[in-house]
C-alpha cells in the first residue's frame, strides 16, 4: 500500500517498469506455490485411475468424494486429528508463555550478565545436539511416549525468542519507568505495557509456532510411540511410507475403482490443510504488520 503512494508521487518510468515486472514475477511465483495445493485438491476429488495416469492436471476428473469417505474410515484418523488440534493449541500456549517470559527477561538491560545469557540461548541456534542424543535425553527424563515430551520439550524456538526480545527492546524505557513509579511490579509491566504494545509481534510469533506445531511430525514420530497419541501428520507419513514400499500387492485400477492409496493420501492432506487455510487469512492481518519486525531490527 505504501509503495503505491510513493509511486504516484514520483511517477518515474523505470519505477513503473520495475513495479510491473515485480508484479508479474511475484504472480508467477504465487502460481508456482499455489499449483501443488490446487493439484492436491483436484487429485483428492478425482477418480484414482485418472490420478494414476496423470490425466488430472488442473481440474478434478470424474469428481467423487469416495476418497474422503475412505479416508474418514481410516482407523485413528479422527483421533489423530484431535491430537493435532491438541498439540497445536496446548503447544502454542506453552510456547508463548515460555517465549514471552524468556524474551522479557533477556530484553532487560539490568539483567546481570545479560550478554552471557543471550549467548547461551543463541548458541542453540548454531549447534544442534543431533537426533540420537536428544532422543536419549528425552528417554532419561522419562518423557518418551508422553504428550508433554513434544509440548514442553520443544517449548522455545530460539529464533522466535530473539524476534520477541528485539521487539521488547524497542519499546521505550520511559513507559516502563512511569509504570514503575505508579507501583507496578515486573509481572504487571510485562502484562499491561509490553504485551499490549507488542500485539503484532506476538501474533507473528504465535503463528510461527502454531504452524510448526500443526505441521510437525518428525519428533512426534520419534518420541511418541503410541499411535493413539500421534497427530495427523504422523498418520500421513505412515500412509506415504507404506506406499513407497514395493510390495507384491495387486492394485487393479479401472474406472470402477473408487479410491486408491494415492487418492486417500491426497484426501488426508486436504483434510489436514483445510483448518490452516481457514485460519491463515484471518491472522494475516496482524501478520503483515508483524513480519517486518525481525527485518528492521534483526
Amino acid at each position: 500500500m505504501l509503495k503505491n503512494k510513493t509511486a504516484s508521487i514520483r511517477t518515474g518510468m523505470d519505477e513503473r517498469v520495475f513495479d510491473i515486472l515485480n508484479i508479474l514475477f511475484l504472480s508467477f511465483l504465487g502460481l508456482f506455490f499455489l499449483y501443488p495445493i490446487v493439484y492436491v485438491f483436484s487429485a483428492s476429488l478425482s477418480k484414482p485411475l485418472y490420478v494414476a495416469t496423470g490425466s488430472v492436471i488442473f481440474f478434478p476428473k470424474g469428481i467423487s468424494l469416495d476418497s474422503f469417505f475412505a479416508a474418514a474410515k481410516l482407523p485413528l484418523l479422527w483421533r489423530s486429528y484431535a491430537n493435532t488440534i491438541f498439540y497445536t493449541a496446548a503447544g502454542t500456549i506453552v510456547n508463548m508463555i515460555l517465549t514471552c517470559s524468556g524474551a522479557y527477561v533477556l530484553s532487560k538491560s539490568e539483567l546481570k550478565g545479560r550478554s552471557f545469557w543471550v549467548l547461551v540461548v543463541v548458541v542453540t541456534m548454531w549447534f544442534d545436539p543431533g537426533i540420537i542424543p536428544r532422543y536419549l535425553n528425552f528417554r532419561d527424563l522419562h518423557l518418551l511416549n508422553t504428550y508433554s515430551s513434544v509440548i514442553i520439550g520443544f517449548g522455545v524456538n530460539t529464533f522466535n525468542l530473539i524476534i520477541l526480545k528485539t521487539f521488547f527492546e524497542s519499546i521505550p524505557g520511559s513507559l516502563e519507568e512511569s509504570a514503575r513509579i505508579d507501583g507496578a511490579n515486573q509481572w504487571q509491566i510485562l502484562r499491561k505495557i509490553y504485551l499490549p504494545l507488542s500485539t503484532p509481534a506476538l501474533v507473528t510469533v504465535a503463528l510461527f509456532y502454531a504452524v510448526s506445531r500443526w505441521n510437525g511430525y518428525f519428533w512426534m514420530m520419534m518420541l511418541v510411540t503410541d499411535d493413539k497419541k500421534a497427530p495427523l501428520q504422523v498418520l500421513l507419513k505412515k500412509l506415504i511410507v507404506q506406499k513407497e514400499i514395493p510390495l507384491e500387492g495387486v492394485k487393479i485400477l479401472d474406472l470402477s475403482t473408487r479410491y486408491s492409496q494415492d487418492t486417500i493420501i491426497y484426501a488426508v492432506i486436504v483434510i489436514s490443510i483445510i483448518p490452516v487455510l481457514i485460519v491463515y487469512p484471518i491472522v494475516q492481518r496482524f501478520f503483515k504488520n508483524g513480519i517486518m519486525l525481525g527485518a528492521v531490527k534483526g
Partner: protein, 518 residues
C-alpha cells in the same frame, strides 16, 4: 492484580494437566505366561501382537507377545537405529540379517548355537535337512546370530520373468520374439499398429516399476545386464569374482537399451513412474511388456473383465542368436535378507528360542505360510487350500490379506513353502514358473558372503560410492546424455578410482571362504 493471578493460575493448571495427563499406563501382563517383547517393522507395518498368526503362536507356546517398536515409525531403518542407539533392546529383534550379525559380533544379540542344540529340535532338524540353507545361517565365527526368513530355495528360485501382452501378439499375428532383433520388430509393429485401438499412438513398450534405479535394473536385465546393486553386483566367472557392469554383456545391454529408449521402445517415463508403473500402464491398456514378479503381475489378467481380451503372458528370456540365453533376470537367493535374533537383554532366552523353534515346526510353518485354518485355509486332501476370504476378498489381493494376518511377514526366522504360492497364483503364473524352470533360463546369483567386520565396513563404503557412480552413468546413457562408447573408458576409470579392485579382492576372499566352509 486479580487478573494477573488468574493468568498465573491458568499457566500452572496447563502445566499440571500436561504432566498429569501423560502418565504412561503400564501394560497388564498375565502373571503366569512369560512375556516376549519384539521389535519388528516389516512391509511398512509395525509388528502387532494381534495379528492372527502371532496370536496363534502365542497361544501354542503359552507366551504373551508384545510389540515394543514405536507404532508411529514405519521406517524400519530409522526405527532400528533408534532402538539400538537407545539401548532399549527387547527380547527379539527383527531386522536385516547382515546388520543383526554385526550387532551379534558387537554383543547386542546372543549366539544361538547352544540354545538350538538344547531346546530347538525343529531348527536342528532344519539345519540337517537343508545344509545349503543352513550354511547361510552361520556368521564368520561359526555362530548363529540370526534366524533368516528362508525362501523355499530348493524348490523355487524364479523371481522375475518377462511378460508381454500376448493378446496383442495374436492380434498382429506376431510370433513370440526370441532375440533382440525379433523383439525390436515386434515392439515397433505393436507401437505403430495401435493395438489398443483407441486411435492414438499412446502405447508404451517396455516398462518397469520401482524407483528410477530399480526400474532401470529391471529393464536392463531383459537385455542381458546382471544385477548391479551392492554386494549383489558381482558374479562368478570360472571361480573368479567379477563386477557385473565390467562384463561385456552389460555394456551391450546398456547400448541396446539406450538405443531403444531413443527410439521410444522403452517407456519414456521409466524413471518417474515409481512403484505404480504396473497399475498405471496395465490398467489403462497401454503397457506392452515388462519384467517383474509373475505372481502379482499376472494377477492383472483380472483386468480382462474391464478390457476385453486382456491377456498378459510370460515369454522365455531372450536369446543372443547363437542359442545362448541373453537375458539375465534376477533370481531368489536362499533368504530374503531379513530375520530375527535374541537380544543380549533377553531375560529368558530359553523361552524365546522355544518360541522361535515353533515357527520351524510343521504347525508353525503352515501358519506362517497359509494363515489360520478355517479362516484363511482349509485342508483339502491333506493340502492347505485358501478360502474365499483370501482369494476373493473385495478389499485386498490374496497376499495382502495374508500379510494383514501376519502370515508371510518376511522378517522372522521361518521357511517359506512354495506351495503357499501355488495355492494363490493364477494359472498364467504357474505356466510362467514351468516355462522358467527350463535349465539355462536363469543364472544363479552370487551367494550371501560373510566378511570380517573391518572388511565388511570397507566393502560397504566402497560399494556405496560405486553403486552411485554406476547408477548415474547408466541413467545418463539411457537418457542419451552420454554416449556409451565414448564415455565407457571414463566410467571404468572412475569406478577403478573408487577402488573396485579392493572390493573385488574382499569379495574373492569371502567367496573362497564360502566355498571352503562346509
Amino acid at each position: 492484580m486479580k487478573k494477573g493471578y488468574r493468568i498465573m493460575l491458568l499457566v500452572a493448571v496447563t502445566f499440571a494437566l500436561l504432566f498429569v495427563g501423560c502418565k504412561g499406563k503400564k501394560p497388564e501382563v498375565s502373571a503366569e505366561k512369560p512375556l516376549i517383547t519384539i521389535h519388528m517393522v516389516v512391509n511398512g507395518m509395525v509388528f502387532d501382537e494381534n495379528w492372527d498368526v502371532f496370536k496363534l503362536s502365542a497361544e501354542k507356546n503359552n507366551v504373551t507377545l508384545k510389540s515394543v517398536a514405536s507404532k508411529n515409525d514405519t521406517d524400519k531403518t530409522q526405527a532400528y537405529n533408534l532402538m539400538v542407539a537407545s539401548q532399549n533392546l527387547p527380547d527379539i529383534i527383527s531386522y536385516t540379517t547382515s546388520d543383526l550379525e554385526l550387532l551379534g559380533i558387537e554383543g547386542g544379540v546372543i549366539p544361538l548355537n547352544d540354545l538350538i542344540e538344547k531346546y530347538a529340535p525343529n531348527i536342528k532338524r532344519f539345519i540337517t535337512e537343508h545344509p545349503r540353507l543352513a550354511k547361510d545361517m552361520y556368521a564368520l565365527d561359526g555362530k548363529i546370530y540370526v534366524l533368516p526368513c528362508y525362501y523355499d530355495y530348493e524348490n523355487m528360485r524364479i523371481a522375475e520373468v518377462i511378460m508381454i501382452r500376448s493378446d496383442w501378439l495374436k492380434k498382429f499375428n506376431l510370433p513370440v520374439p526370441r532375440t533382440l532383433p525379433e523383439m525390436e520388430k515386434t515392439l515397433t509393429t505393436l507401437l505403430n499398429g495401435d493395438p489398443n485401438g483407441n486411435g492414438r499412438k499412446d502405447e508404451v513398450g517396455i516398462f518397469a516399476r520401482g524407483n528410477p534405479y530399480d526400474a532401470m535394473r529391471r529393464v536392463l536385465a531383459i537385455f542381458g545386464a546382471r544385477q548391479y546393486e551392492g554386494a549383489a553386483s558381482f558374479f562368478v566367472d570360472n571361480g573368479k569374482i567379477s563386477y557385473a557392469p565390467f562384463d561385456p554383456t552389460f555394456r551391450r545391454a546398456v547400448e541396446t537399451a539406450a538405443r531403444w529408449y531413443t527410439k521410444g521402445l522403452i517407456d519414456k517415463e521409466l524413471f518417474t513412474r515409481g512403484n505404480s508403473a504396473r497399475d498405471q500402464l496395465l490398467s489403462t491398456n497401454l503397457g506392452v511388456m515388462t519384467s517383474d514378479w509373475p505372481g502379482s503381475t499376472l494377477s492383472y489378467n483380472q483386468l480382462s473383465s474391464a478390457i476385453p481380451g486382456f491377456e498378459l503372458e510370460a515369454i522365455p528370456p531372450l536369446e543372443d542368436g547363437n542359442g545362448n540365453i541373453l537375458s539375465k533376470l534376477p533370481v531368489r537367493n536362499t533368504h530374503d535378507e531379513m530375520g530375527w535374533s535374541i537380544s543380549s537383554k533377553a531375560k529368558d532366552p530359553v523361552t524365546v528360542i522355544k518360541f522361535m523353534d515353533w515357527w520351524f515346526s510343521e504347525e508353525g510353518r503352515r501358519a506362517w505360510n497359509f494363515g489360520i485354518e478355517g479362516k484363511h485355509y482349509t485342508m483339502v486332501n491333506g493340502k492347505p487350500e485358501f478360502t474365499d476370504f483370501v482369494m476373493k476378498n473385495p478389499d485386498k489381493g490374496p497376499l495382502d490379506v495374508l500379510r494383514a494376518a501376519g502370515a508371510q511377514c518376511s522378517a522372522i526366522g521361518v521357511h517359506q513353502d512354495v506351495n503357499y504360492e501355488y495355492a494363490w497364483i493364477p494359472e498364467a503364473t504357474k505356466r510362467a514358473y514351468k516355462m522358467y524352470s527350463t535349465p539355462g533360463y536363469l543364472e544363479d546369483c552370487i551367494p550371501f558372503l560373510k566378511y570380517p567386520v573391518e572388511e565388511k565396513n570397507e566393502f560397504n563404503k566402497i560399494m556405496v560410492t560405486i553403486n552411485q557412480t554406476t547408477d548415474e552413468y547408466v541413467q545418463k546413457w539411457m537418457l542419451g546424455a552420454l554416449d556409451v562408447n565414448k564415455s565407457w573408458d571414463a566410467y571404468v576409470k572412475r569406478v577403478k578410482g573408487q577402488e573396485i579392485d579392493r572390493a573385488l579382492e574382499i569379495q574373492q576372499k569371502a567367496y573362497e571362504r564360502f566355498l571352503s566352509s562346509k
